[in-house]
């Protein structure tokens, strides 16, 4: 007792207890789970973001050039003007995510078993791929190899095309995009397959048919900046007026000058009602219609039969009173919008189908195009055009040996044995459906690049049933996503910030754009650029395939492309923030806006055509482009060299007849309201389920990073529960109140949800967000909410066979 008391007393006269108390506090600073910022030199690298196709200029902040800390908008890049979207701001999380694939993996167990994925060396992985490719080719079955890539407009996609052609497979697909149907619509009305571009920077009136302008539509960075400029109050110029027509009070609708809550899926009818008023009241551009258009008046087809023209068709079928019945919008409102739309010189109609991620109903695209054409948007004001092709160095014509020729002579699997659609497009959905049902021939090898169809495809079950029939599935994903988990072999690509890639053209932008995304830091894992893997595979196969892809490295290939760009003599590199390519009208020279304002030590600079020509060397281009600058050129005049049968813009689609579509009904050749009815009985499924996207929730190839999940509100995701938005009236009628648990059932499936009562939802409709409900990845991503793609209905467009989505019949039951 005394000894203990003495010991305590003694201890108190030593530094021991005080030191221990202090050290315990400092000890907490070394707990392994407490993040500690890396110390070192802070540097900044400029590059182009490739987390989506928006082509924003970004700068990465690095410590000692090795550790990425954050991404910011590049203030010298005028497209996004220093801004960045939530995905870009969270971009660094993709580099260090626990679900990254550290090295090649091979499935040793049953497909889909994560424990069966065993690490293998790159040599083993590449020889396994080479062996399969060679085996299928030598056995005369190159068409049994298929590839799906998530990159549709850049040089990597061009390399896939080259590989696929030289190898001998017609089965190359990209992931669905709104451009899929727009390109086909453009091929009908302009005779050229190119994505559409809108001169939104010039607009002073925007009529948006469900286009989520500030929530990811088109190029998100460009849209945010443009939207900001619309809202700027400047002396001498009126504020741009935005009218949003859609059934949900989205962020775009809430911020618009006017929101018109229309019946779901009737936007095209509304556009035709407006067209009716324009035609009836002679508010359309008569000069354009008489000099540059075909089929406005009645016309004669190739067989000499007189067909109804757009004018009489619209006048007869879409009077505002009738449109009111369809859309639920008062006829007075339709007339008012038509008058406003016609009165503004720079008014433009934009649209986005369903949730805006995939292709549209083709007739809808045609209707909205016609509405723009009526007010002369294609002519004088050039508010709508086609995204110009970037004059990059052309690839050598692929040499095709007999095997390749025989392979390519096979019909693409979605069109075999004969096409079901007059105007087939990128039929990735139909392709997977064909594999799963009764294919004309089997697919023995499927290559998947930068895509996660098992999660992102609407009606994603189709991928699960298709993969069961595929011999070998190879994924190039850098992340252990749902599709990679179902692969037999994973050859991980570098992540977006670690690899060299490019951006050719911006979605929804009418001027030409090209940028290079260069790596911001060395690869963090044992990964390889898929471009290099593809070039290596071509060499491994040898012969004509190797000859068609002669580059040793992907860098060489891309440099050759840029060499072509420099040699083309077109466009210029945007070196300063002040260069604003959207000011260029079709036919303008880029030097017009090549103006450097005076800065310290430099006088103002204005380039001449001659001085600009001197800068067009491959070395200068490569250096500037890999340094985060972009190349630009003026839009093209779409009315020049129209490749349609009439040589004019076609209101009546003669090209459809050329595609073998012989129809009695005149309206089939005209843009008209053609809703694709959702399946299921209205009595059993009284509600309509509509999915939507958010800018702060990534629903495509990249899973929503934890930074962004943190920003989701409690009425969208609480714990693991997903909330469905419905109108108070609908909630009452169905017997639900806010926060209730419910079972949501559609003809496609059933899921558990909770109820969010919102005035912003159109009565009778249910709104579900896209991007949640992952089953793969890691604990920070998976099992949060529900994947909307599992329960929404896909409808094949009858003209194009593209998988469209807009609404699904649904019922709610108390859980």
């Amino acid at each position: 007792m005394q000894f203990a008391a003495g010991a305590v007393g003694g201890a108190l006269f030593t530094p021991m207890p005080w030191k221990l108390a202090e050290d315990t506090a400092i000890w907490s600073q070394n707990w392994s789970w407490r993040p500690s910022p890396e110390d070192g030199e802070i540097t900044s690298v400029a590059t182009t973001c490739q987390l989506c196709a928006g082509g924003c200029g970004i700068t990465a902040r690095l410590v000692d050039r090795q550790r990425a800390i954050m991404l910011q908008g590049n203030p010298n890049h005028s497209i996004n003007d220093g801004g960045i979207c939530p995905l870009g701001a969270s971009g660094v999380q993709f580099l260090y995510a626990p679900y990254r694939i550290p090295q090649p993996l091979k499935q040793t167990g049953k497909r889909g078993d994560p424990t069966g994925l065993k690490p293998i060396s790159w040599d083993e992985a590449l020889s396994a791929l080479d062996a399969k490719l060679t085996e299928l080719r030598t056995s005369g079955n190159p068409h049994r190899v298929a590839a799906i890539t998530g990159q549709s407009e850049n040089s990597m996609h061009r390399l896939w095309q080259q590989f696929s052609t030289a190898y001998g497979s017609p089965n190359l697909f990209t992931m669905p995009s709104p451009a899929d149907s727009q390109k086909l619509a453009a091929s009908l009305v302009f005779g050229r397959q190119a994505p559409l571009g809108f001169a939104l920077e010039q607009a002073n009136y925007v009529l948006s048919f469900g286009a989520h302008l500030i929530e990811g539509w088109g190029a998100p960075g460009r849209m945010q900046v443009t939207y900001g400029r619309w809202r700027d109050e400047k002396p001498g110029s009126a504020k741009t007026r935005i009218v949003q027509i859609e059934p949900r009070c989205s962020v775009t609708a809430a911020n618009a000058d006017e929101w018109i809550a229309i019946n779901p899926g009737t936007e095209a009818a509304m556009a035709l009602g407006i067209a009716h008023v324009l035609i009836r009241d002679l508010l359309y551009d008569a000069d354009f219609v008489s000099n540059h258009a075909f089929g406005f008046d009645d016309w004669q087809d190739a067989a000499g039969k007189t067909r109804q023209g757009f004018k009489s068709f619209v006048l007869a079928n879409y009077p505002p009173e009738k449109v009111t019945e369809l859309t639920g919008v008062a006829s007075e409102k339709i007339k008012e919008l038509a008058t406003e739309f016609a009165r503004q010189k720079r008014a433009v109609a934009v649209w986005g189908s369903g949730n805006g991620a995939g292709p549209n109903n083709l007739y809808d695209d045609l209707v909205f195009l016609a509405l723009n054409a009526l007010t002369g948007n294609l002519g004088k004001s050039a508010m709508l055009g086609l995204t110009p092709e970037v004059p990059l160095g052309a690839l050598p014509a692929p040499t095709m040996d007999g095997i390749a020729q025989r392979g390519l002579a096979q019909q693409r699997l979605d069109l075999a044995p004969k096409p079901n659609w007059p105007l087939p497009g990128n039929g990735v959905h139909a392709f997977l459906e064909a594999i799963g049902t009764n294919p004309a021939y089997p697919i023995d090898l499927l290559l998947i690049h930068e895509a996660n169809p098992a999660y992102t495809l609407p009606g994603n079950q189709i991928y699960y049933s298709a993969q069961e029939k595929i011999g070998l599935v190879v994924s190039f994903s850098s992340y252990l996503d749902e599709t990679a988990l179902l692969a037999d072999l994973i050859l991980p690509n570098h992540s977006a910030l670690e690899r060299l890639d490019d951006v050719c053209g911006l979605p929804g932008v009418p001027y030409a754009y090209y940028a290079i995304a260069s790596p911001i830091l060395p690869p963090q894992r044992n990964t390889r650029h898929t471009g290099e893997v593809l070039l290596g595979a071509a060499q491994g196969i040898g012969g004509s395939v190797a000859a068609s892809l002669p580059w040793k490295k992907y860098d060489d290939y891309l440099q050759e492309r840029v060499q072509g760009l420099a040699a083309s003599g077109q466009g210029a590199i945007a070196e300063y923030r002040e260069i604003e390519p959207w000011r260029l009208q079709p036919g303008d020279s880029p030097e017009l806006f090549y103006r450097r304002p005076p800065t310290e030590g430099n006088s103002a600079e204005q380039k001449t055509p001659e001085s600009l020509q001197k800068t067009r060397t491959v070395q200068a281009y490569w250096k500037k482009l890999t340094g985060g600058m972009y190349w630009y050129d003026a839009p093209v005049n779409v009315l020049k060299n129209l490749a349609t049968p009439s040589g004019r813009y076609e209101f009546a689609l003669q090209n459809l007849q050329g595609k073998g579509m012989a129809a009695d009904e005149d309206r089939l050749y005209l843009p008209h309201y053609h809703p694709l009815a959702p399946s299921g009985d209205e009595k059993d499924y009284p509600l309509l389920l509509i999915s939507y996207r958010m800018l702060s929730l990534s629903d495509q190839f990249l899973a929503n990073p934890p930074f962004m999940t943190k920003t989701l509100s409690d009425d969208l995701l609480q714990g693991q529960d997903l909330f469905l938005a419905l109108h108070p009236q609908t909630a009452r009628a169905q017997g639900f109140s806010a926060g209730d648990r419910a079972q949501l059932k559609t003809p496609q499936g059933e899921v558990a949800v909770r109820i969010h009562v919102s005035q912003g939802a159109r009565p009778g409709a249910l709104f579900i967000v896209q991007g949640l409900g992952h089953t793969a990845y890691d604990e920070y991503i998976q099992n949060k909410g529900v994947n909307a793609n599992e329960i929404i209905e896909v409808q094949m467009d009858p003209l194009t066979g593209l998988a469209t989505t807009w609404a699904t019949r649904a019922q709610l039951r108390r859980a």
Binding site: F3, A4, G10, A11, T14, E22, Q29, N30, D64
Partner: protein, 186 residues
């Protein structure tokens, strides 16, 4: 009674002895054994001699400030490589430097004597601006022919030389600098 008294006294004496025994033992433990137990002695991975860092008379020549004003701390391997791409002389330390680090392009894991925990925000620039000599906080290395041992605290993982908060506060008070919490703990 007497016997009882005697035995009571001896118990008390015994108690005092025990008390002092405990007291002294803990004093020894606290002053002598504890510090030895608490710290482990480590040597720098490469013996660096500050006294022959020729031509560099000022600390800032090597321990420089970057262009953005941040302090670079211990020079990186690139700095060593400028002269030591090939071994200079044939000391063990020299061979080790070239063989293990420069040839393998591996940063030297120097042991920093004065590293502050993450919850302390410390700016060298602010202190240099007040013309405080480096030796106000760091040892004078001008004549140092051998890097001293590094005493690592087994509990905290930090160096024994890591400056205590009380020392920061004392100097701040002397210099009339703010001692508000947020000055150092951001």
């Amino acid at each position: 009674m007497k016997a009882e008294g005697k035995s009571g006294k001896s118990v008390r004496t015994g108690g005092v002895v025990f008390f002092f025994a405990g007291f002294i033992i803990m004093m020894v433990v606290g002053w002598v054994v504890f510090p030895r137990l608490l710290y482990s002695e480590k040597m720098q991975p490469v013996q660096f001699r500050h006294d022959i860092a020729e031509g560099h008379s000022e600390c800032e020549d090597c321990h420089r400030f970057r262009d953005d004003g941040t302090y670079s701390g211990i020079p990186s391997l690139d700095n060593c490589r400028q002269c030591h791409e090939q071994p200079i002389g044939d000391t063990e330390a020299e061979k080790l430097l070239v063989r293990e680090y420069i040839e393998k392009n591996k940063e030297i894991p120097w042991l920093a004597y004065s590293w502050q925990p993450d919850n302390v925000y410390f700016s060298h620039a602010a202190h240099i601006k007040r013309n405080l000599p480096c030796t106000r906080c760091h040892r004078d290395v001008n004549k140092e022919g051998k890097a001293p041992p590094y005493w690592e605290n087994r509990l905290t993982g930090y160096s024994r030389n890591t400056m205590r908060m009380v020392e920061c506060e004392k100097c701040h008070a002397e210099q009339h600098a703010s001692n508000a919490c947020q000055v150092c703990h951001k």
